[in-house]
């Protein structure tokens, strides 16, 4: 179970070292659903999964930011991934959960919740099950956040680089939110 290296994630998507990408990305992924599509998050990015709780809106934030929650005394921002991915917004269901993710940015842990339709499972994706993202997607570099495409049975799982999902500015914004609330 090789741990996906944070630095390599960024470089791999752009450098396109096809033979290595599977081995680099193989590992456990927390899979979840948005609409009918499946996405995967590297397990080590996931802090925990919590059920849907009251989200406090923060004024004058971007639309995809649902607000902040109080997670055991710690205020973290919650991002609506549907909104972020330009999907139509829907009402929350009893399956809607918040996946709390965390990663380090210059030794500062960035924590945030992402709102997904349904959490599926912790899936072990082997190297041969992973393919690089097709060039088609990478137009304008807007889809850099896709690490690769995982295949399980007949399903297709978009492996997300959560750090790329939000741009640096947005991340900073989130962090400022987090800091201001903290």
């Amino acid at each position: 179970m090789p741990e996906p290296v944070k630095d390599s994630n960024k470089t791999d998507t752009t450098s396109g070292e096809v033979p290595n990408i599977g081995q680099q990305l193989a590992g456990k992924y927390m899979t979840f659903k948005l609409a009918s599509e499946e996405y995967g998050l590297a397990i080590l990015r996931v802090r925990e999964i919590i059920g849907l709780m009251d989200i406090t809106r923060v004024p004058r934030t971007k639309e995809f930011i649902r607000g902040v929650i109080n997670l055991r005394g710690k205020v973290i921002p919650v991002v609506d991934l549907r909104m972020k991915f330009n999907m139509p917004s829907t009402e929350s269901t009893d399956q809607t959960v918040i996946i709390v993710v965390q990663w380090l940015v210059s030794n500062n842990a960035t924590t945030m919740g992402i709102l997904v339709d349904e959490v599926l499972e912790v899936l072990n994706i082997a190297a041969e099950q992973i393919e690089p993202p097709p060039e088609l997607y990478s137009r304008n570099g807007e889809t850099d956040f896709i690490l690769g495409i995982g295949k399980a049975d007949k399903r297709v799982i978009c492996l997300l680089d959560i750090e790329q999902v939000l741009s640096k500015d947005e991340t900073m914004h989130l962090r400022s939110l987090e800091a201001s609330e903290a």
Binding site: K28, M30, I49, G51, V122
Partner: protein
């Protein structure tokens, strides 16, 4: 004269003259010119060079003189200038010498010679002096060059010498110059003379030439004009001839040709050409006309074999076609005839060669054209031969009339060439048969145009009818016989027209006769012939050929027909003789026909046998036959297929229809008769269906009792209509008598007994009629008996009974019943009457001890009670009477012993006694006074109430008596009248009562029946009510059960909801567990290898969570289904509950209605009983009323006598006459006083209804008992108008 000369000769002559004149002119001119030339020679060769030489000499002298002067001049001492002067002198000398040489060479005139000889010494002198001057000067030059100065004397000497020389030279020169001038003058004079001479010669020559020219021109003009006129004449003649030809052609005179002799010889070629053209055109025309003529006369000429071109070929083709068709017809007919007669013979008509004239025409035209060209060439040759010298171009260029002549010649030549060309074109076109070709007249001018137009018109006139004829011949050759030509043509065209018309006539005649014959033959008259004698030539041959052929055919045909007739008669073995030649084919064909027919017959027999045996599948073997016979057999087979297919279908349908199973309509498409069959079957199905529908309708109507309903026969057709009409008539026959009997029964049931039925019916209807009549008789008898009984009852003959033996069956039972009823009614009635009678008579009988039933018992009891009451009343009355007799006015009857009104009577009596006794005393006194007829007595005591009223009454009575008695006499009269009226009324009442009695009898019997029916109704209703009740209860039970069920469902739903909540909880738990498991997995992942086990556990936990979620989901689904079912059940239950509620409501309503019906029925029953009772009582009352009426009547009579008695009594009274008027004023008071009695009566006269009769009966008794003492008024006895019952009644 001139005309006879050939134009060429004329032209030659003319040209000759012209040339001669020209020659003269030329010679004269030449002579003149020679003279002039000589002069000019002299001038040019002698004079002019002489002058030149003279002039040269003079010029040279002048040069020399100038040089001399230069040399002499001292101012011109330069060497160059001097040298120039030397040169000048040299040149001058040379020039002078040249001039002298020139002049000396020339011949000199004598004068000249003379002058010249004088000149020469001077000239030489001059020359010497000049030379001397030059020499001196050269010395001077040498001197000067040696250095001598100008003013050197030597030089001056030289100069002087030079001057001298020079002056000498000048003198010589002037003299020589003089001579030279003379010479020049002389030469000039010579020249002038020569010029004058030549001028004179020229002018002479000019006049000569002019004269010659004039003469020549005149001659040329005369000749030209004459030639022109001759040509014009010739052209005119040509034009005339052309016009004449054109007119002749238009007139149809095709034989007309142009007269060659009228035109000049040169033009005869043209005319000849035109004639030839016409010949070429008209020849074929004539040939065609001849042919047409021949053809029209039936003389068929041989074919035209010549070769024609263009339209002639068409005409030829048409003619040949015509000939071909005609001769072909003839040939074919004769060939056919011959062939028919002797087998197959062929004949061919040989056609001789036809030689056309077109070649000649062409040749002629060519010759004509050639001669024209030759003539023209001759002229040209002549002209050219004349102009062969140098004069040819001059001549051409010459102006004036010669050119005109020349141009005319050219123009003439051109026109003639054009004409010739057109004639050539026309003749070539004519030879080629292009008859439409015409010359272009616009290319020509003047008469030439007329010529061309004339030729064109000639061609038009010729070719127009030609085309018509060609068209007719073409149409005739194509067999289309056109109408006759009615246009007018002239000459040969008319012949052509007539021939064509004759041809048309003959053809039409032939066609008509053939048509007639064929028509007659078609009509069967095969002996008809074409009348041959009517035709000529080939037409007759044709007609005869047709006749022969036809009869030959008919002969053979008759034989063949005889054989065929045998065939037709069915004898296929009939023999046929062998025909010769090709007619054998008839034998062969007939034999083949025989064979085929036999085969066909065999197959037909086979098929018919099979058909007879019903083997509809059997088919003939078509392969055994050939040609149309095969088609016949195939046709028969297909026909059989086609017939049997639909036959089977229709058989099937008919089978179904016959079995009553009406099939659906046939929707397949058939053709022809099968379609008819199909339509008939469909119609049959429709008709049967309609019949069934109508039968159903009738049956339904009959069941519903709508006997007037009939089937609509017009909807059906044929026998179906007859069936329906039969059914309708049957219904009419059945229902007619039925209606009559129903009407009768109706009338009978309504009591309106009709007359006997006298109509005649048959069978069962007769039985019905008889039964009805019997019924009518029985009812009539019954009615008679009832009337009789009623009458007897009215008459009080209660013993009268109907004779039951007169009636039969139930009627007898009815009568017996009535009799028994009467017995039953009258027995007790008699007893009660007896009792009442006794009671009324005061003879109170003992109590009735017999036992009666029902109402009679009531009557009995009432009577007994009445007896008791009356007995006690009598006893009390006796007591009171006794006491009152004894004067014991205080004695009172014991009212408690009595009941009801009796008690009231007794009480009343007692009270009356109490109240009465006090005032009675005074009243007694007053009355005593009154009794003494002293009507003035009055009661004076102060009384109140009734006593006051008694007092007032008494007083009033007294007064009234006083008043009344005075009027009593009148009153008595009135009373008498009133009693009469009463007697009448009583009579009427009595009559009414008897009528009532009979009505009551009927009512009674009807009521009897009604009672029975009502009872049954009541019973049924009770049963229905109990049933309805049971239903209602059952429904109510169902309702409660439903409510329980709904509750149960609701509980299920509630429980499901609870379960759903639990499942939601479970789901929530599963969800949370899943999250926990996932978080655990995350944690395990974070722990790396250490967390691997934990990851497994987390995975398991997650699986458990998923499983529990799934299980919860399944359960939820199941519960959802259950809830759905429960909900469904609830809805259904609600519906059922609603239905049950409706049932309960309905049942309750039914129950209520039935209950109401039951109650109503019971009430009805009771009411009917009461009515019955009432009727019975009414009966009694009526009886009583009747007797009372009689009594009233007698009472009225009695009243009359009593009124008389009264009047006598009144006489006895003493009346206060003064008070009479006053007493009258008190009459109302008297009435008031009388009212208590009436008031006392009222309670008795207004009893409860059923007690009324009894009261009346009771009222009778005092009447009977105290008849003499107290006479009640009829109104008192029977207050009819006051009794409400009677008023109602």
């Amino acid at each position: 004269m001139l005309n006879d000369i050939k134009t060429s000769t004329k032209l030659l002559f003319g040209f000759g003259l012209a040339i001669a004149v020209t020659l003269i002119i030329g010679i004269v001119g030449r002579q003149a010119l020679v003279t002039a030339s000589e002069h000019m020679d002299d001038i040019g060769k002698n004079r002019m060079p002489s002058l030149y030489g003279v002039q040269e000499m003079i010029a040279g002298q002048l040069h020399v003189a100038a040089g001399q002067r230069g040399l002499v001049n001292r101012r011109m001492m330069e060497h160059g200038v001097r040298q120039g002067n030397y040169d000048e002198i040299a040149t001058g000398l040379r020039q002078a010498a040249d001039g002298r040489k020139v002049y000396e060479a020339l011949p000199m005139a004598p004068e000249e010679q003379r002058i010249w000889s004088s000149f020469v010494p001077r000239w030489d002198e001059w020359q010497r002096n000049v030379q001397s001057t030059v020499d001196i000067e050269k010395e001077k030059d040498a001197l000067l060059s040696s250095g001598a100065k100008g003013d050197d004397p030597r030089v001056t000497q030289i100069d002087d010498k030079a001057m001298e020389f020079m002056s000498r030279a000048r003198d010589a020169r002037s003299e020589s110059n003089k001579a030279l001038a003379d010479i020049a003058r002389l030469n000039n004079d010579f020249g002038k003379t020569a010029v004058q001479q030549s001028e004179a010669a020229a002018s002479k020559n000019i006049s000569v030439m002019l004269t010659a020219m004039f003469i020549g021109s005149m001659i040329a003009a005369v000749v030209g004009l004459s030639i022109a006129r001759s040509i014009k004449n010739a052209l005119d003649a040509l034009h005339r001839e052309a016009t004449r030809l054109a007119q002749a052609a238009v007139a149809g005179q095709l034989a007309t040709r142009a007269d060659v002799m009228v035109v000049p010889a040169e033009f005869r070629g043209i005319v000849q050409g035109v004639n030839d053209t016409l010949d070429a055109v008209i020849n074929p025309l004539n040939v065609a006309a001849d042919y047409v003529d021949k053809i029209s006369k039936g003389d068929i000429p041989p074919k035209i074999t010549d070769t024609y071109n263009g339209d002639f070929n068409v005409i030829k083709g048409n003619l040949n076609k015509c000939i071909d068709s005609l001769s072909g017809l003839l040939g074919t007919m004769s060939t056919m005839y011959e062939a028919q007669r002797a087998g197959d013979i062929e004949a061919y008509v040989d056609v001789t060669q036809f030689q056309g004239a077109y070649r000649q025409l062409a040749q002629g035209v060519n010759d004509g054209v050639k001669s024209i060209i030759d003539n023209t060439l001759t002229i040209l040759d002549t002209v050219s031969s004349y102009s062969e010298g140098d004069f040819t171009p001059v001549m051409r260029r010459l102006p004036g009339k010669q050119v005109v002549a020349n141009e005319r010649m050219d123009k003439l030549r051109q026109n003639l060439m054009a004409l010739v060309a057109d004639a050539k074109v026309l003749s070539i076109a004519a030879v080629e048969g292009k008859l439409a070709v015409r010359a272009d007249a616009s290319k020509h001018q003047g008469d030439y145009r007329k010529i061309v137009q004339g030729v064109n018109e000639t061609l038009d006139a010729v070719i127009g009818p030609l085309n018509v004829a060609a068209n007719y011949v073409d149409r005739i050759s194509k067999g289309e016989v056109p109408a006759k030509i009615t246009d007018n043509y002239n000459g040969d065209f008319n012949v052509i027209k007539n021939n064509l018309n004759q041809l048309v006539n003959n053809l039409n005649q032939l066609v008509d006769d053939m048509g007639v014959m064929s028509k007659q033959h078609d009509a069967g008259d095969i002996d008809v012939k074409i009348p041959e004698e009517r035709f000529e030539g080939a037409y007759r041959v044709m007609a005869k050929g047709v006749n022969d052929m036809v009869f030959g055919h008919i002969a053979v045909k008759k034989k063949a027909m005889a054989c065929l007739a045998e065939f037709a008669a069915g004898n296929f073995d009939a023999p046929l003789e062998k025909f010769p030649g090709k007619k054998v084919f008839i034998n062969e064909n007939i034999e083949l026909l025989r064979r085929n027919s036999k085969a066909l017959v065999t197959d037909a027999i086979m098929l018919s046998k099979a058909a007879v045996e019903g083997k509809l599948a059997t088919r003939a073997d078509a392969s055994k036959h050939q040609g149309d016979f095969r088609k016949i057999v195939q046709g028969v087979n297909e026909t059989l297929d086609a017939v049997i297919g639909p036959l089977n279908v229709s058989a099937d349908y008919v089978d179904k229809i016959s079995k009553g199973s009406i099939p659906a309509k046939i929707t397949d498409t058939y053709n022809g008769d099968f379609n008819t069959i199909k339509n008939n079957l469909n119609q049959c199905i429709d008709a049967v269906n309609n019949m069934v529908a109508d039968a159903g309708l009738l049956a339904k109507a009959a069941v519903e009792g709508k006997l007037a309903t009939r089937a609509d026969a017009s909807k059906h057709q044929g026998d179906y209509r007859k069936i329906v009409q039969g059914v309708n008539e049957t219904l009419d026959a059945v229902i007619g008598p039925l209606n009559v009997s129903a009407d009768y029964v109706d009338k009978i049931s309504k009591g309106n007994i009709p007359e006997r039925i006298t109509d005649t019916y048959n069978g069962d209807f007769n039985t019905i009629k008889n039964n009805l009549n019997k019924c009518i008789d029985a009812v009539n008898r019954m009615a008679g008996d009832a009337t009789m009984l009623a009458k007897a009852a009215v008459e009080g003959k209660l013993a009268t009974r109907a004779d039951a033996t007169k009636h039969e069956g139930d009627f007898r039972k009815i009568v017996q019943g009535v009799n028994e009823t009467l017995d039953a009614v009258i027995g007790p009635l008699n007893v009660s009457a007896d009792y009442v009678d006794k009671i009324s008579r005061g003879n109170i009988p003992p109590k009735i001890t017999d036992s009666y039933n029902g109402d009679f018992n009531t009557i009995k009891n009432n009577l007994n009670r009445c007896v008791d009451a009356v007995n006690s009343l009598v006893a009390d009355t006796e007591t009171l009477v006794r006491a009152s007799i004894e004067g014991k006015l205080s004695t009172r009857a014991d009212a408690s012993k009595h009941e009801g009104d009796y008690r009231r009577i007794v009480d009343g009596v007692n009270k009356t006694l109490d109240a009465v006794i006090a005032p009675v005393m005074e009243a007694a006194g007053a009355l005593e006074t009154l009794a003494r007829y002293d009507l003035r007595a009055r009661v004076t005591g102060d009384y109140q109430g009734d006593h006051a009223r008694i007092k007032d009454a008494l007083n009033g009575t007294a007064k009234a008596l006083q008043d009344a008695l005075s009027q009593v006499a009148d009153a008595v009269e009135q009373v008498s009248e009133a009693s009469q009226q009463i007697a009448g009324s009583s009579q009427a009442v009595s009559q009414g009562a008897s009528e009532q009695a009979s009505s009551l009898e009927e009512t009674s019997s009807s009521l009897e029946e009604m009672a029975g029916m009502t009872k049954q109704n009541a019973d049924n209703t009770i049963q229905a009510r109990s049933l309805a009740q049971t239903t209602k209860e059952a429904a109510e039970k169902g309702g409660t059960a439903m409510i329980r069920m709904t509750d149960a469902m609701e509980k299920i739903r509630a429980a499901s909801q609870g379960t759903a909540d639990i499942i939601k909880d479970i789901n929530e738990i599963a969800f949370q567990t899943n999250l926990l498991a996932l978080n655990a997995a995350v944690e395990a992942a974070r722990a790396g290898d250490a967390g691997r086990g934990f990851a497994v556990v987390a995975e398991e936990v997650r699986n458990l969570a998923l499983r529990s979620k799934e299980a919860a989901k399944k359960t939820e689904d199941l519960i959802k289904v259950a809830v759905g079912h429960a909900e469904n059940g609830r809805v259904i239950t609600n519906e059922v509950a609603g239905s049950l509620t409706e049932i309960v409501t309905a049942a309750a309503k039914v129950n209520d209605i039935v209950s109401e019906i039951a109650v109503a029925s019971q009430e009805q029953s009771r009411g009917i009983e009461q009515v019955n009772t009432a009727v019975a009582e009414m009966d009694k009352v009526v009886q009583t009323a009747a007797s009372n009426a009689e009594e009233s009547s007698s009472a009225a009579e009695e009243l009359a006598s009593q009124s008389e008695e009264l009047s006598s009594l009144v006489q006895r009274f003493e009346l206060d006459r003064d008070n009479r008027t006053a007493s009258r004023r008190h009459a109302p008071a008297a009435k008031e006083a009388a009212s208590p009695r009436r008031a006392a009566m009222h309670p008795a006269t207004i009893p409860p209804p059923r007690r009324g009769a009894v009261i009346v009966n009771r009222a009778k008794r005092p009447n009977g008992a105290n008849g003499t003492t107290h006479k009640p008024s009829p109104e008192d006895l029977i207050p009819l108008e006051k009794d409400p019952e009677f008023q109602d009644f």
